[in-house]
Amino acid sequence: MEKRVKLKSREELKNLRDSIIKNRDESIPCITVCLGTGCRAKGAEDVLNEFTRQIKNVDKAKITYRQTGCHGFCEKGPLVVIHPQKIFYQQVKTTDVEEIISETIINSKIVDRLLYIDPKTNEKILQENEIPFYKKQKRVVFANNGLIDPENINDYIALGGYSALSKVLFELKPDEIIDIIEESGLRGRGGGGFWAGSKWKYAKNAKGDRKYIIANGDEGDPGAFMDRSLMEGNPHSVLEGMIIAAYSISNAGEIPVEGYIYVRNEYPLAVKHLFLAIERAREYGLLGEDILGYKFNFDIRINRGGGAFVCGESSALFASIEGRAGEPRAKYVHATDRGLYDKPTNLNNVETYANVPIIINNGVDWYRSIGTENSKGTKIFSLVGKINNTGLVEVPMGITLREMIFGIGGGIQNNKRFKGVQTGGPSGGVIPESSLDLPVDFDELTKVGSMMGSGGMIVMDEDNCMVDIARYFLKFLEDESCGKCVPCREGIKRMKEILDDIVEGNAKMEELDLLENLASVVQDASLCQLGATAPNPVLSTIRYFKDEYITHIKDKKCPAGVCKALITYFITDNKCTGCGACVKVCPSGAILGEKKKPHKIDIDKCIKCGMCFDVCKFDAVIKE
């Protein structure tokens, strides 16, 4: 355990960094294993344990190993990268460990079968940055995720961590820092897209005897896990950004300032790593009193969410930190004037804070060279759903949806047809094929009835039903609504009832008009943005997939074969071999037939659970 002493000056930080680098031999083989939650779920921890166990037996050269944060290519996990050659092995199992050590580490040979194969060229690719998934990305915020052990602050420092803080404390004044953030064009990464520099300025100018800096790590959008990876994989980048913000907004500590990170309860690893990071930073004097020897005090506490999506909303988040139910309140006065405990508060998403040290270190010109006119820098997206390369991607803003989905994403799974991509979570909408060449940034997607939101991109194919998706989001929001105001609580419920009628084949065309009127009231009159944006998924799917709605209502059919009430399961005679696998799993005894002879489904008994469809190896079960 390296002993930690409080750093009392920027020179001491620099000396520490130099000594860490000096004591590391980059030529020694280093095995890095991704231990992000995604890879862990696939057994990465066992893989790392196997490596540590077997390395002990190797007495040849020195070998080191390191756990790292999420690389983003979750589809291919567990991921192992061998340094210094940067050999990228994917889908590594514990049984592969021995061979990797003997072949790659000791004999410098490649284990071919563990390399990534480009599906287009059938070529095997050696290094991470050559893989198409990564090649088209611009990893800036995520650059160090695969290189550092999130539990080891020295890794972060070795790569330049906390040098931005050092520059800010000793070279820049608070107003200068805010100017830099404003000029950079940084906009909030949590979905709101508010200009970060302006927010910091309001917070700095607001009157109060105490101020708060809060990082929103509540990432509630289903399908989005960018913040999880960032908090798990590079927690110090968030801390550094927060400390810089605190210094600026408190006017170099003139006003006492305190920090909070609000992390979703469902992210236990992120909580753990943030907690550790804060402890380590305190030990080094990077948090607490007299940071880096400068007369500036700031510390950060972690509050875990309680399982409420609405707590991602600023005033609900504050209520939760205050120990109350997460109910939003009227925001006619901004949080920068009266936020947490009615004091001036700066709330930014964790990804926004992580951009700050990067801007300080690389400069405004460099940052502005990335992105579009009004959306500067990179954005991290989660590319999920019916896509080949599921995972997290970081790209310059302005990349088109087509490049994201078909370039980086590798296109649709199983060669199915693309139907739509849902962006912006429950506040966003579905974008159809006709708009795939739209650039992705804060403003372009709103023009077509969606939004970039926090970065979730859910790809859907011909087997997904748009009416079902609209209903899914309404159900989600009905569950998550705080219930305080009438339009959201009663309005979303009644909108969902109409969608229930449609998917069950009980709706009339007039209900679509009622749906649109309800939607406009919910948008206009809800107390907070959860309610106000709730109608977006419904409205956008009606806009682009109205035919599908009409088919459900008039023909009482679900073209995609999803809505249970509107489909029937059949067994096709000429494909059924009579193996009986379906009979075994049918919970209602609805399948009859003799052994080795085609079976039949009794429609009256069938509860449409779909188990027979799952188990049939001969594609004999079809949905109509």
């Binding site: 589809e75 309680g306 399982g307 999506f309």
Partner: protein
């Protein structure tokens, strides 16, 4: 109530610590016992209805004891698209409870979660912090049987020793 005093001591004694304390209590007892909520109300000087509101508002809290094995089925968008709801239905049928409920023998609690952030593994099911990826209704029931049998065997071993 020695336990609860230890928990309260970790935090500042004002009402802002209410949720943090409740999270620790939920972790310790597997639910929020009514008596403890009453005590908290007195010790933190928070009106009892407010403590009750917080206890019922957040999904992380439960007023009833949870089962030995908590099954969390993810119903995030990616998991929904890949058949998540049918997995929940399958488990509801198998366990004879609705999601949010616990089996009578307290062996299983079935819950749904709105995204655990492992969308590449969709559809995801978590049992006692162990993640299962690309689950189907058939696989889900098989996984359950492992837990069912394992816990029975453990009980048998314990009673043999005593």
């Amino acid at each position: 109530m020695v336990e609860i005093d230890k928990i309260i001591e970790k935090y500042s004694k004002d009402k802002s610590s209410l949720i943090l304390i409740l999270q620790d209590i939920q972790g310790e007892y597997n639910y929020l016992p009514k008596e403890i909520l009453l005590t908290l109300s007195q010790k933190l000087n928070v009106p009892f209805p407010q403590v009750y509101h917080v206890s019922t508002f957040y999904k992380a809290f439960s007023l009833k004891p949870k089962g030995k094995n908590i099954i969390k089925c993810c119903l995030g968008t990616a998991c929904h698209l890949k058949g998540g709801p049918r997995i929940v239905e399958g488990l509801e049928r198998e366990l004879k409870i609705k999601s949010g409920e616990t089996t009578d023998d307290l062996k299983f609690t079935l819950e749904t979660v709105n995204c655990v952030g492992t969308c590449a593994l969709a559809p995801v099911m978590i049992v006692q912090d162990k993640y299962y990826d690309k689950v189907t209704p058939v696989k889900a029931i098989k996984i359950l049987k492992d837990y069912g049998e394992t816990s029975e065997v453990k009980v048998k071993r314990r009673t043999k020793k005593s």
